[in-house]
Symmetry: C2
Subunit: 415 residues, 2 copies
């Protein structure tokens, strides 16, 4: 084995002997190719491929049938969402077919020709807009993550969930296209005393949240397209609100109404739910931004690794701007090395990180710790739980620890 | 109509009267909402939505059923590709289900467990790698466009094709993840006199192209994932070559072999095809990079617009780095205005541009003209055809002219 070789030569040789004799063989003359009768021509080269044109709207390979969204691992008679297979994803874009879902009364079917957005309340010129009106306004396209504020919440209690998907899969990232909320608000003319906006969805839950005017004006987008195509039904087709970096449920789907007011509207979803209960029983209200967080996706829970070279890779994100750095430990937090961040590092988007690692076969714990440009740093689970007490449900962002056993099995632990 | 209002108030009022009386109405007290009995509650709010969890792998809304890939408009008994619906796409990412296809012997079905990549020829240590080996190497993720070198070629002859999809749809853009070709070449140890690499696909066409070593080493990627998930079958599952900015057919799909040599291999696809025939009958060989180009997608051919405000938007791209600027003319090329480029502007990726426009209802011609950081500028069709003569088939990159008739109908013309 040459020093500069990343994979063990022995490994490659051992593995390549598993190739059937009739197929390609490694080394020497058997390796030479002849265009008339080359050794090891695969079946795919002997007959024309499948239909010349695939389905007008394509689908993944049948060999990837297990890469799908799943329900939460905890039993639930009324499942209200599904999780992205993070450990089987690459880069930072989540394909729409695997984008996590969370809804409060199922997925409504809305005919875009009949959909309307009302903008009213403390405005000079209340408006009703149809989708054709909305898409005529100036648009923007931005890559941003979306995370349910309850993502990873099972970790407050114990190491529950096996895979990154089960534990952290209420997280995805896409390229969103829509009209800046500030553009629409300029159109209706917001009155001076207006400070909050109620956003309402056209689902049977009439999902509603109150949004501070500053937040709405600075980054809010009325989104009609995701990853190049129109929104998917479970993502709010034909129109949703996007508040980059802000907890998922505020990004109201199937958006039908914006009411401008002076004060928060204290809706069900921001009083009985989505508050953060402190040790003394009182609650934080309106904790909007998702905090700095990261998770190693390879190797991660449920996988089995061999000794030798690995690229440790995962994603980091923060609701407070850009990720500044990700440190990785392969010895349970004693020492840390800085991972490489894949460019472009975008504000409030997933950031892919990578670090080379040689695993020597000894049991260990691997961890990642993200730092953002606001100076926030991901805490250990111990510190987070100490600070927040036993009643917290949302906004879990502690360091994820993956144990690698001597047999190479990776599992979810609390280090 | 207020001066700062983007859409005509008259238009909005006229359109909103089309809302059924039982639904929401514009203005005055009818606009006030009551949570007990608000006017115009849509059906979607009265009953729970569809299945709580959508298919494990999601699909677009049924209302978007016409947004699909299509065959080329020219009759062809053996269709070998399909085109992206550019005029229905947003931002810069093309979803995998709508990514253009081009193949030479259909789409092979390849079991990734059985797939092998041979790297041999002028190398110190020839290797056979399986997919498990390949994904263990250090990876990168990059957003790049891919364009068939024959894209838009019908425009050399006459204004053929109606929509942006029909004319320019052999173009898409995705986030690609894979191993740098330079990493694999370091692993095998390229011999000093090696200057070219043969790349071969495992399809029944045994699609092969020769790649200069410099190009391979600088930017080549062995791609296994696209837009977050594993490659789709029609995109080369489980492994393809990506040469950012280089004509589509060189980005060999279903990649099974890399042979390192001293000279180009002069394969069928680079001798009988994919050369550029000059007026005197001789040919340019190895014209790799796709040139600077742009197209307005809204408004574009086949659409019908109304008078008033429009956001002109489209995409620009170049195989020579970043797009530096896009000028837009709304008067047939007499005057030009600079469009806004959507950040991030990435090298060898689609770049979305936007420009506000008030259409006064008079017939006109709209055009876009891209400039890249290498100083290249998109030519008029007249200049391009003059320079290249009548035999050219590939690398068409002239300015696209869309005529807007007095009735608002948009059509493909040669200005």
């Amino acid at each position: 084995m040459k020093d500069h070789s990343l994979l063990s030569r022995r490994t490659i040789l051992r593995r390549s002997t598993a190739i059937p004799a009739a197929s390609i063989a490694l080394g020497g003359s058997a390796f030479a190719q002849s265009s008339s009768s080359p050794p090891g021509i695969p079946e795919s080269m002997k007959i024309p491929g499948g239909p010349f044109v695939n389905p007008p709207y394509g689908v993944p390979s049948a060999f990837e049938k297990d890469v799908v969204r799943v329900l939460p691992s905890a039993p639930n008679p009324f499942p209200t969402g599904s999780r992205s297979p993070l450990q089987s994803l690459y880069g930072i874009i989540t394909p729409n077919g695997l984008f996590f879902e969370r809804h409060h009364a199922g997925v409504p079917t809305i005919n875009p020709d009949q959909h309307r957005l009302m903008v009213h309340g403390l405005v000079e010129r209340p408006l009703v807009l149809d989708m054709e009106d909305i898409v005529r306004f100036p648009s923007v396209s931005k890559i941003h993550f979306l995370e349910c504020s309850g993502n990873s919440s099972s970790q407050y209690v114990g190491p529950s969930g096996k895979t990154a998907q089960e534990i952290h899969g209420l997280l995805s990232c896409g390229e969103w296209t829509g009209v800046k909320l500030s553009t629409i608000l300029a159109e209706v003319g917001v009155k001076p005393k207006a400070k909050w906006i109620l956003a309402e969805g056209a689902d049977a839950a009439a999902m509603t949240r109150s949004i501070p005017m500053d937040l709405a004006m600075s980054e809010g987008i009325l989104v009609y397209a995701q990853n190049g195509e129109k929104l998917r039904p479970e993502q709010g087709y034909p129109l949703r609100l996007l508040l980059p970096g802000v907890e998922g449920n505020m990004n109201i789907k199937w958006l039908r109404r914006l009411k401008v007011g002076e004060k928060p509207f204290y809706t069900r979803e921001e009083t009985s739910k989505y508050t953060d209960i402190l040790p003394d029983g009182s609650s934080y209200e309106f904790t909007f931004a998702m905090d700095v967080k990261s998770v190693i996706l390879s190797p991660s829970g449920g996988q089995k690794i061999r000794t030798g070279y690995h690229e440790i890779t995962g994603v980091a994100w923060t609701g407070h701007g850009r990720i500044k750095g990700v440190d990785v430990s392969t010895d349970g937090g004693r020492t840390w090395r800085q991972a490489v961040l894949q460019e472009p590092v975008l504000s409030k988007a997933l950031t892919r990180f990578r670090l080379p690692w040689q695993w020597d076969g000894a049991p260990t714990i691997i961890q990642s710790r993200a730092i953002d440009e606001a100076g926030r740093i991901q805490p250990t689970r111990k510190k987070l739980v100490e600070r927040r007490g036993p009643n917290y449900v949302y906004h879990y962002n502690a360091i994820q620890s993956w144990k690698v056993s001597d047999s190479g099995e990776v599992s979810n632990v609390h280090a």
